[in-house]
Symmetry: C2
Subunit: 428 residues, 2 copies
């Protein structure tokens, strides 16, 4: 596509984007063998050059500690030889995945003899804007290379030294394998301005994928003229139906909420059918409390808390809306399945909702009325994940409806082209 007015400047970001575009044109016709060889070279180089990566990472850690960053965040930022080896192993796993490029998605011979094939092709230039963890730098680059795309990486300033070192290793390995080094680039600059320029590089960048918290994602959605794939915000619900197996419901609720509360597929709200509330609420409260979860409940839950001697905080609209990402859950009793549906449609971020029921009609109705990326029937919300779904890798979980919805694997990093072959065919 020809460059738009937005992308004619000569700033470092736009120069970088234009190099990525040129690299993408070189990558597009390469066969799988060439891309896989580059990825194997990347995996080797990461292990071989672990020392210099760790050294750069130490500078980021020092800066983070000096700024009083919390230990948990410093830990996520930290790279060790062992962690680098694990990242390299992940790259090798990506090599082994099926090649999405060139897959014939649809094909037929038309009545006039024209041969029609819809073929997967790389998107071109993929921009990733992400926070903290430097492992994303390598993961994202590997998935983009595997799918034939050039990648522009815009990590957080807190990991700038680590990302710079990682990208240097990646570029050397890619170039050593005969691919254009500019297939992998760090977006220059640490300030907001460089991210903003990336968002306006329509015509140069084919898609932007923000990975991080809701503020980051909403900023990109609002400010970007480049097409965006929204990822990861998960206000997930568990609905316990009147005909639920209560043991199963307690287990699914606790697993959905507390197995790993910091991630997007963790549950944030539980809705319980009034017909079983009296039996279910005391058991749920006991199990949630034992798992260290605070309940923010409606009147029914507050009353159950009083009866059980467990504190239940009063829930407000803010609770229905919040992605706690921690040991808190919002809780309400609903008169009917349809009331649960209405609540979820009102408040969900469109990630994952679960129903627990033995009633096939209730399951069918719930599934048909949801408007989310994934719906679980008698299973934990925590299963919405590219690895769990068997995709082998995941660049993020889309909570939007266009192009990709739910866990995004390699096919979601491609577009398609119609290739039509004739023998002098003319339109009449």
């Amino acid at each position: 596509m020809s460059d738009s007015a937005d992308s004619t400047g000569t700033s470092p970001v736009l120069v970088t984007a234009r190099r990525a575009r040129a690299a993408a044109a070189e990558l597009a016709p390469l066969p799988r063998t060439a891309r896989d060889a580059a990825l194997l070279a990347v995996a080797d180089a990461l292990t071989e050059r672990a020392a210099e990566i760790v050294e750069a990472n130490a500078r980021d850690i020092e800066r983070a500690r000096a700024a009083g960053t919390a230990d948990a965040i410093v830990d996520r930022l930290t790279l060790t030889p062992r962690r680098i080896a694990a990242i390299a192993a992940d790259v090798r796993d990506v090599v082994a995945l099926p090649d999405p490029v060139g897959e014939v998605v649809r094909g037929s011979t038309l009545p006039n003899g024209l041969e029609l094939r819809q073929v997967r092709v790389p998107l071109g230039v993929v921009g990733i804007i992400y926070e903290a963890r430097p492992n994303v730098t390598v993961d994202a680059a590997a998935l983009c290379l595997k799918s034939g795309n050039a990648v522009l990486l815009r990590g957080s300033s807190s990991a700038y030294a680590s990302n710079t070192a990682l990208v240097a290793v990646l570029r050397d390995a890619v170039a050593g394998a005969g691919l254009p080094a500019d297939a992998v680039q760090l977006v220059p600059g640490e300030g907001r301005e460089s991210a903003h320029e990336l968002m306006r590089a329509r015509g140069l960048v084919d898609v932007l994928i923000p990975r991080g918290g809701e503020t980051l994602i909403q900023t990109v959605v609002r400010e970007s003229t480049v097409p965006v794939i929204e990822t990861g915000v998960g206000n997930c619900h568990v609905y316990v139906d009147e005909l639920a197996d209560l043991d199963m419901a307690v287990d699914i609720l606790v697993n959905s909420k507390a197995q790993r509360p910091s991630v997007c597929n963790a549950a944030e709200t539980v809705l319980v059918h009034a017909g079983i509330a009296e039996r279910f609420l005391p058991r749920a409260l006991a199990a949630l409390t034992e798992a260290g979860v605070r309940v923010h409940g409606d009147e029914a839950w507050q009353k159950a808390g009083l009866d059980a001697g467990t504190e239940v905080l009063p829930a407000t609209d803010a609770d229905w809306e919040t992605e706690y990402l921690g040991y808190d859950i919002a809780a309400a009793v609903v008169p009917t399945l349809d009331a649960a549906v209405a609540h979820i449609r009102r408040w969900t971020s469109g990630h994952t909702e679960a129903i627990v029921t033995r009633d096939t009609a209730a399951a069918r109705r719930f599934v048909s009325l949801m408007d989310s990326a994934a719906v679980m029937v008698n299973a934990s919300t925590r299963f919405t994940d590219g690895g769990q779904f068997g995709f082998g890798a995941e660049i993020g979980i889309s909570t939007q409806k266009l192009h990709a919805r739910g866990p995004m694997g390699l096919p979601e990093l491609t577009s398609t082209t119609y290739v039509v072959t004739g023998d002098g065919h003319l339109r009449e």
Copy 2:
């Protein structure tokens, strides 16, 4: 998805969008039979109420004539009982198409026994912003209803009376068949402000599809916070390779350019390999001239024009960029296939490119280096069309890479949801 800050107002447009959202929730769980019955009722009603539609249309025509509108445009605006019957017949054709909703795109049983299905679901609320032709009102509504979507129609003010009458007929028929009337709505207001509000109704409208000229499309792309599918701008190229069959090349060139020059899949530029220019240019010039086509050529083409006594206008960058949509073509001679590729990648709108060659290696290289929605090998660019591709219907031709690329049929009006069924499955 919960309403965003953009969509909390109480303007007539947002009230309409909110009604559409409620209608979409009602439509989503309906089976095909219900949607098909509504479409058949629409087809019947159009024929039965043709008189009142023609009467409303007469007011638009009168206004257009009073404003001195060109005859060709008045003709496109005109509805007659016969044209209305043809529109109704098109609706019946849509009824007969396969249902995209509920199709299982991908499915498996995971190692832990979870049953995974990726199922097509309606997008929800589809907004169409379009120009002139009132038949688009019915076509777009029919395709959206068939795919389970509510539709917001924003036609041009020149067809406001016609569109109002058509939508009244559609709504009555839809409601009579037991579906929510608000599944089909005209966006209130004729001014720019109402279109602009529609573009900002993120969270209420799931996708906007602009259909019309480049100015309209670029405005929507630039101003919309709702995801947009770009359609229809076609700066299409025909490349005549050194090893082309020259008879075939002349025929494909003339067909691509002149069979119907006003549409997006008509060719706008021809590139000719230097090795055959001397033999090809005189023949091409003669054939193009006979078809009434003016050539805007580079020096080689201008020289060929002088030799043949045919006027060839000098081409500038503006010509390489222009979608003439008429009897004009830009023309250049290129030293190599790769030079043709570079020209096309620089100037194309990403719609359709064609190569004419007998050389399989050249065809393969050309196809692998294009970055457009469709690539023709030895066939006219005019074949990029949902009807020609056998899709049965088309809501537009996407020239972007995300979600849909090329002719968009019913599946492109859907998203997907992962439905995961277990038996108390927990994540470990």
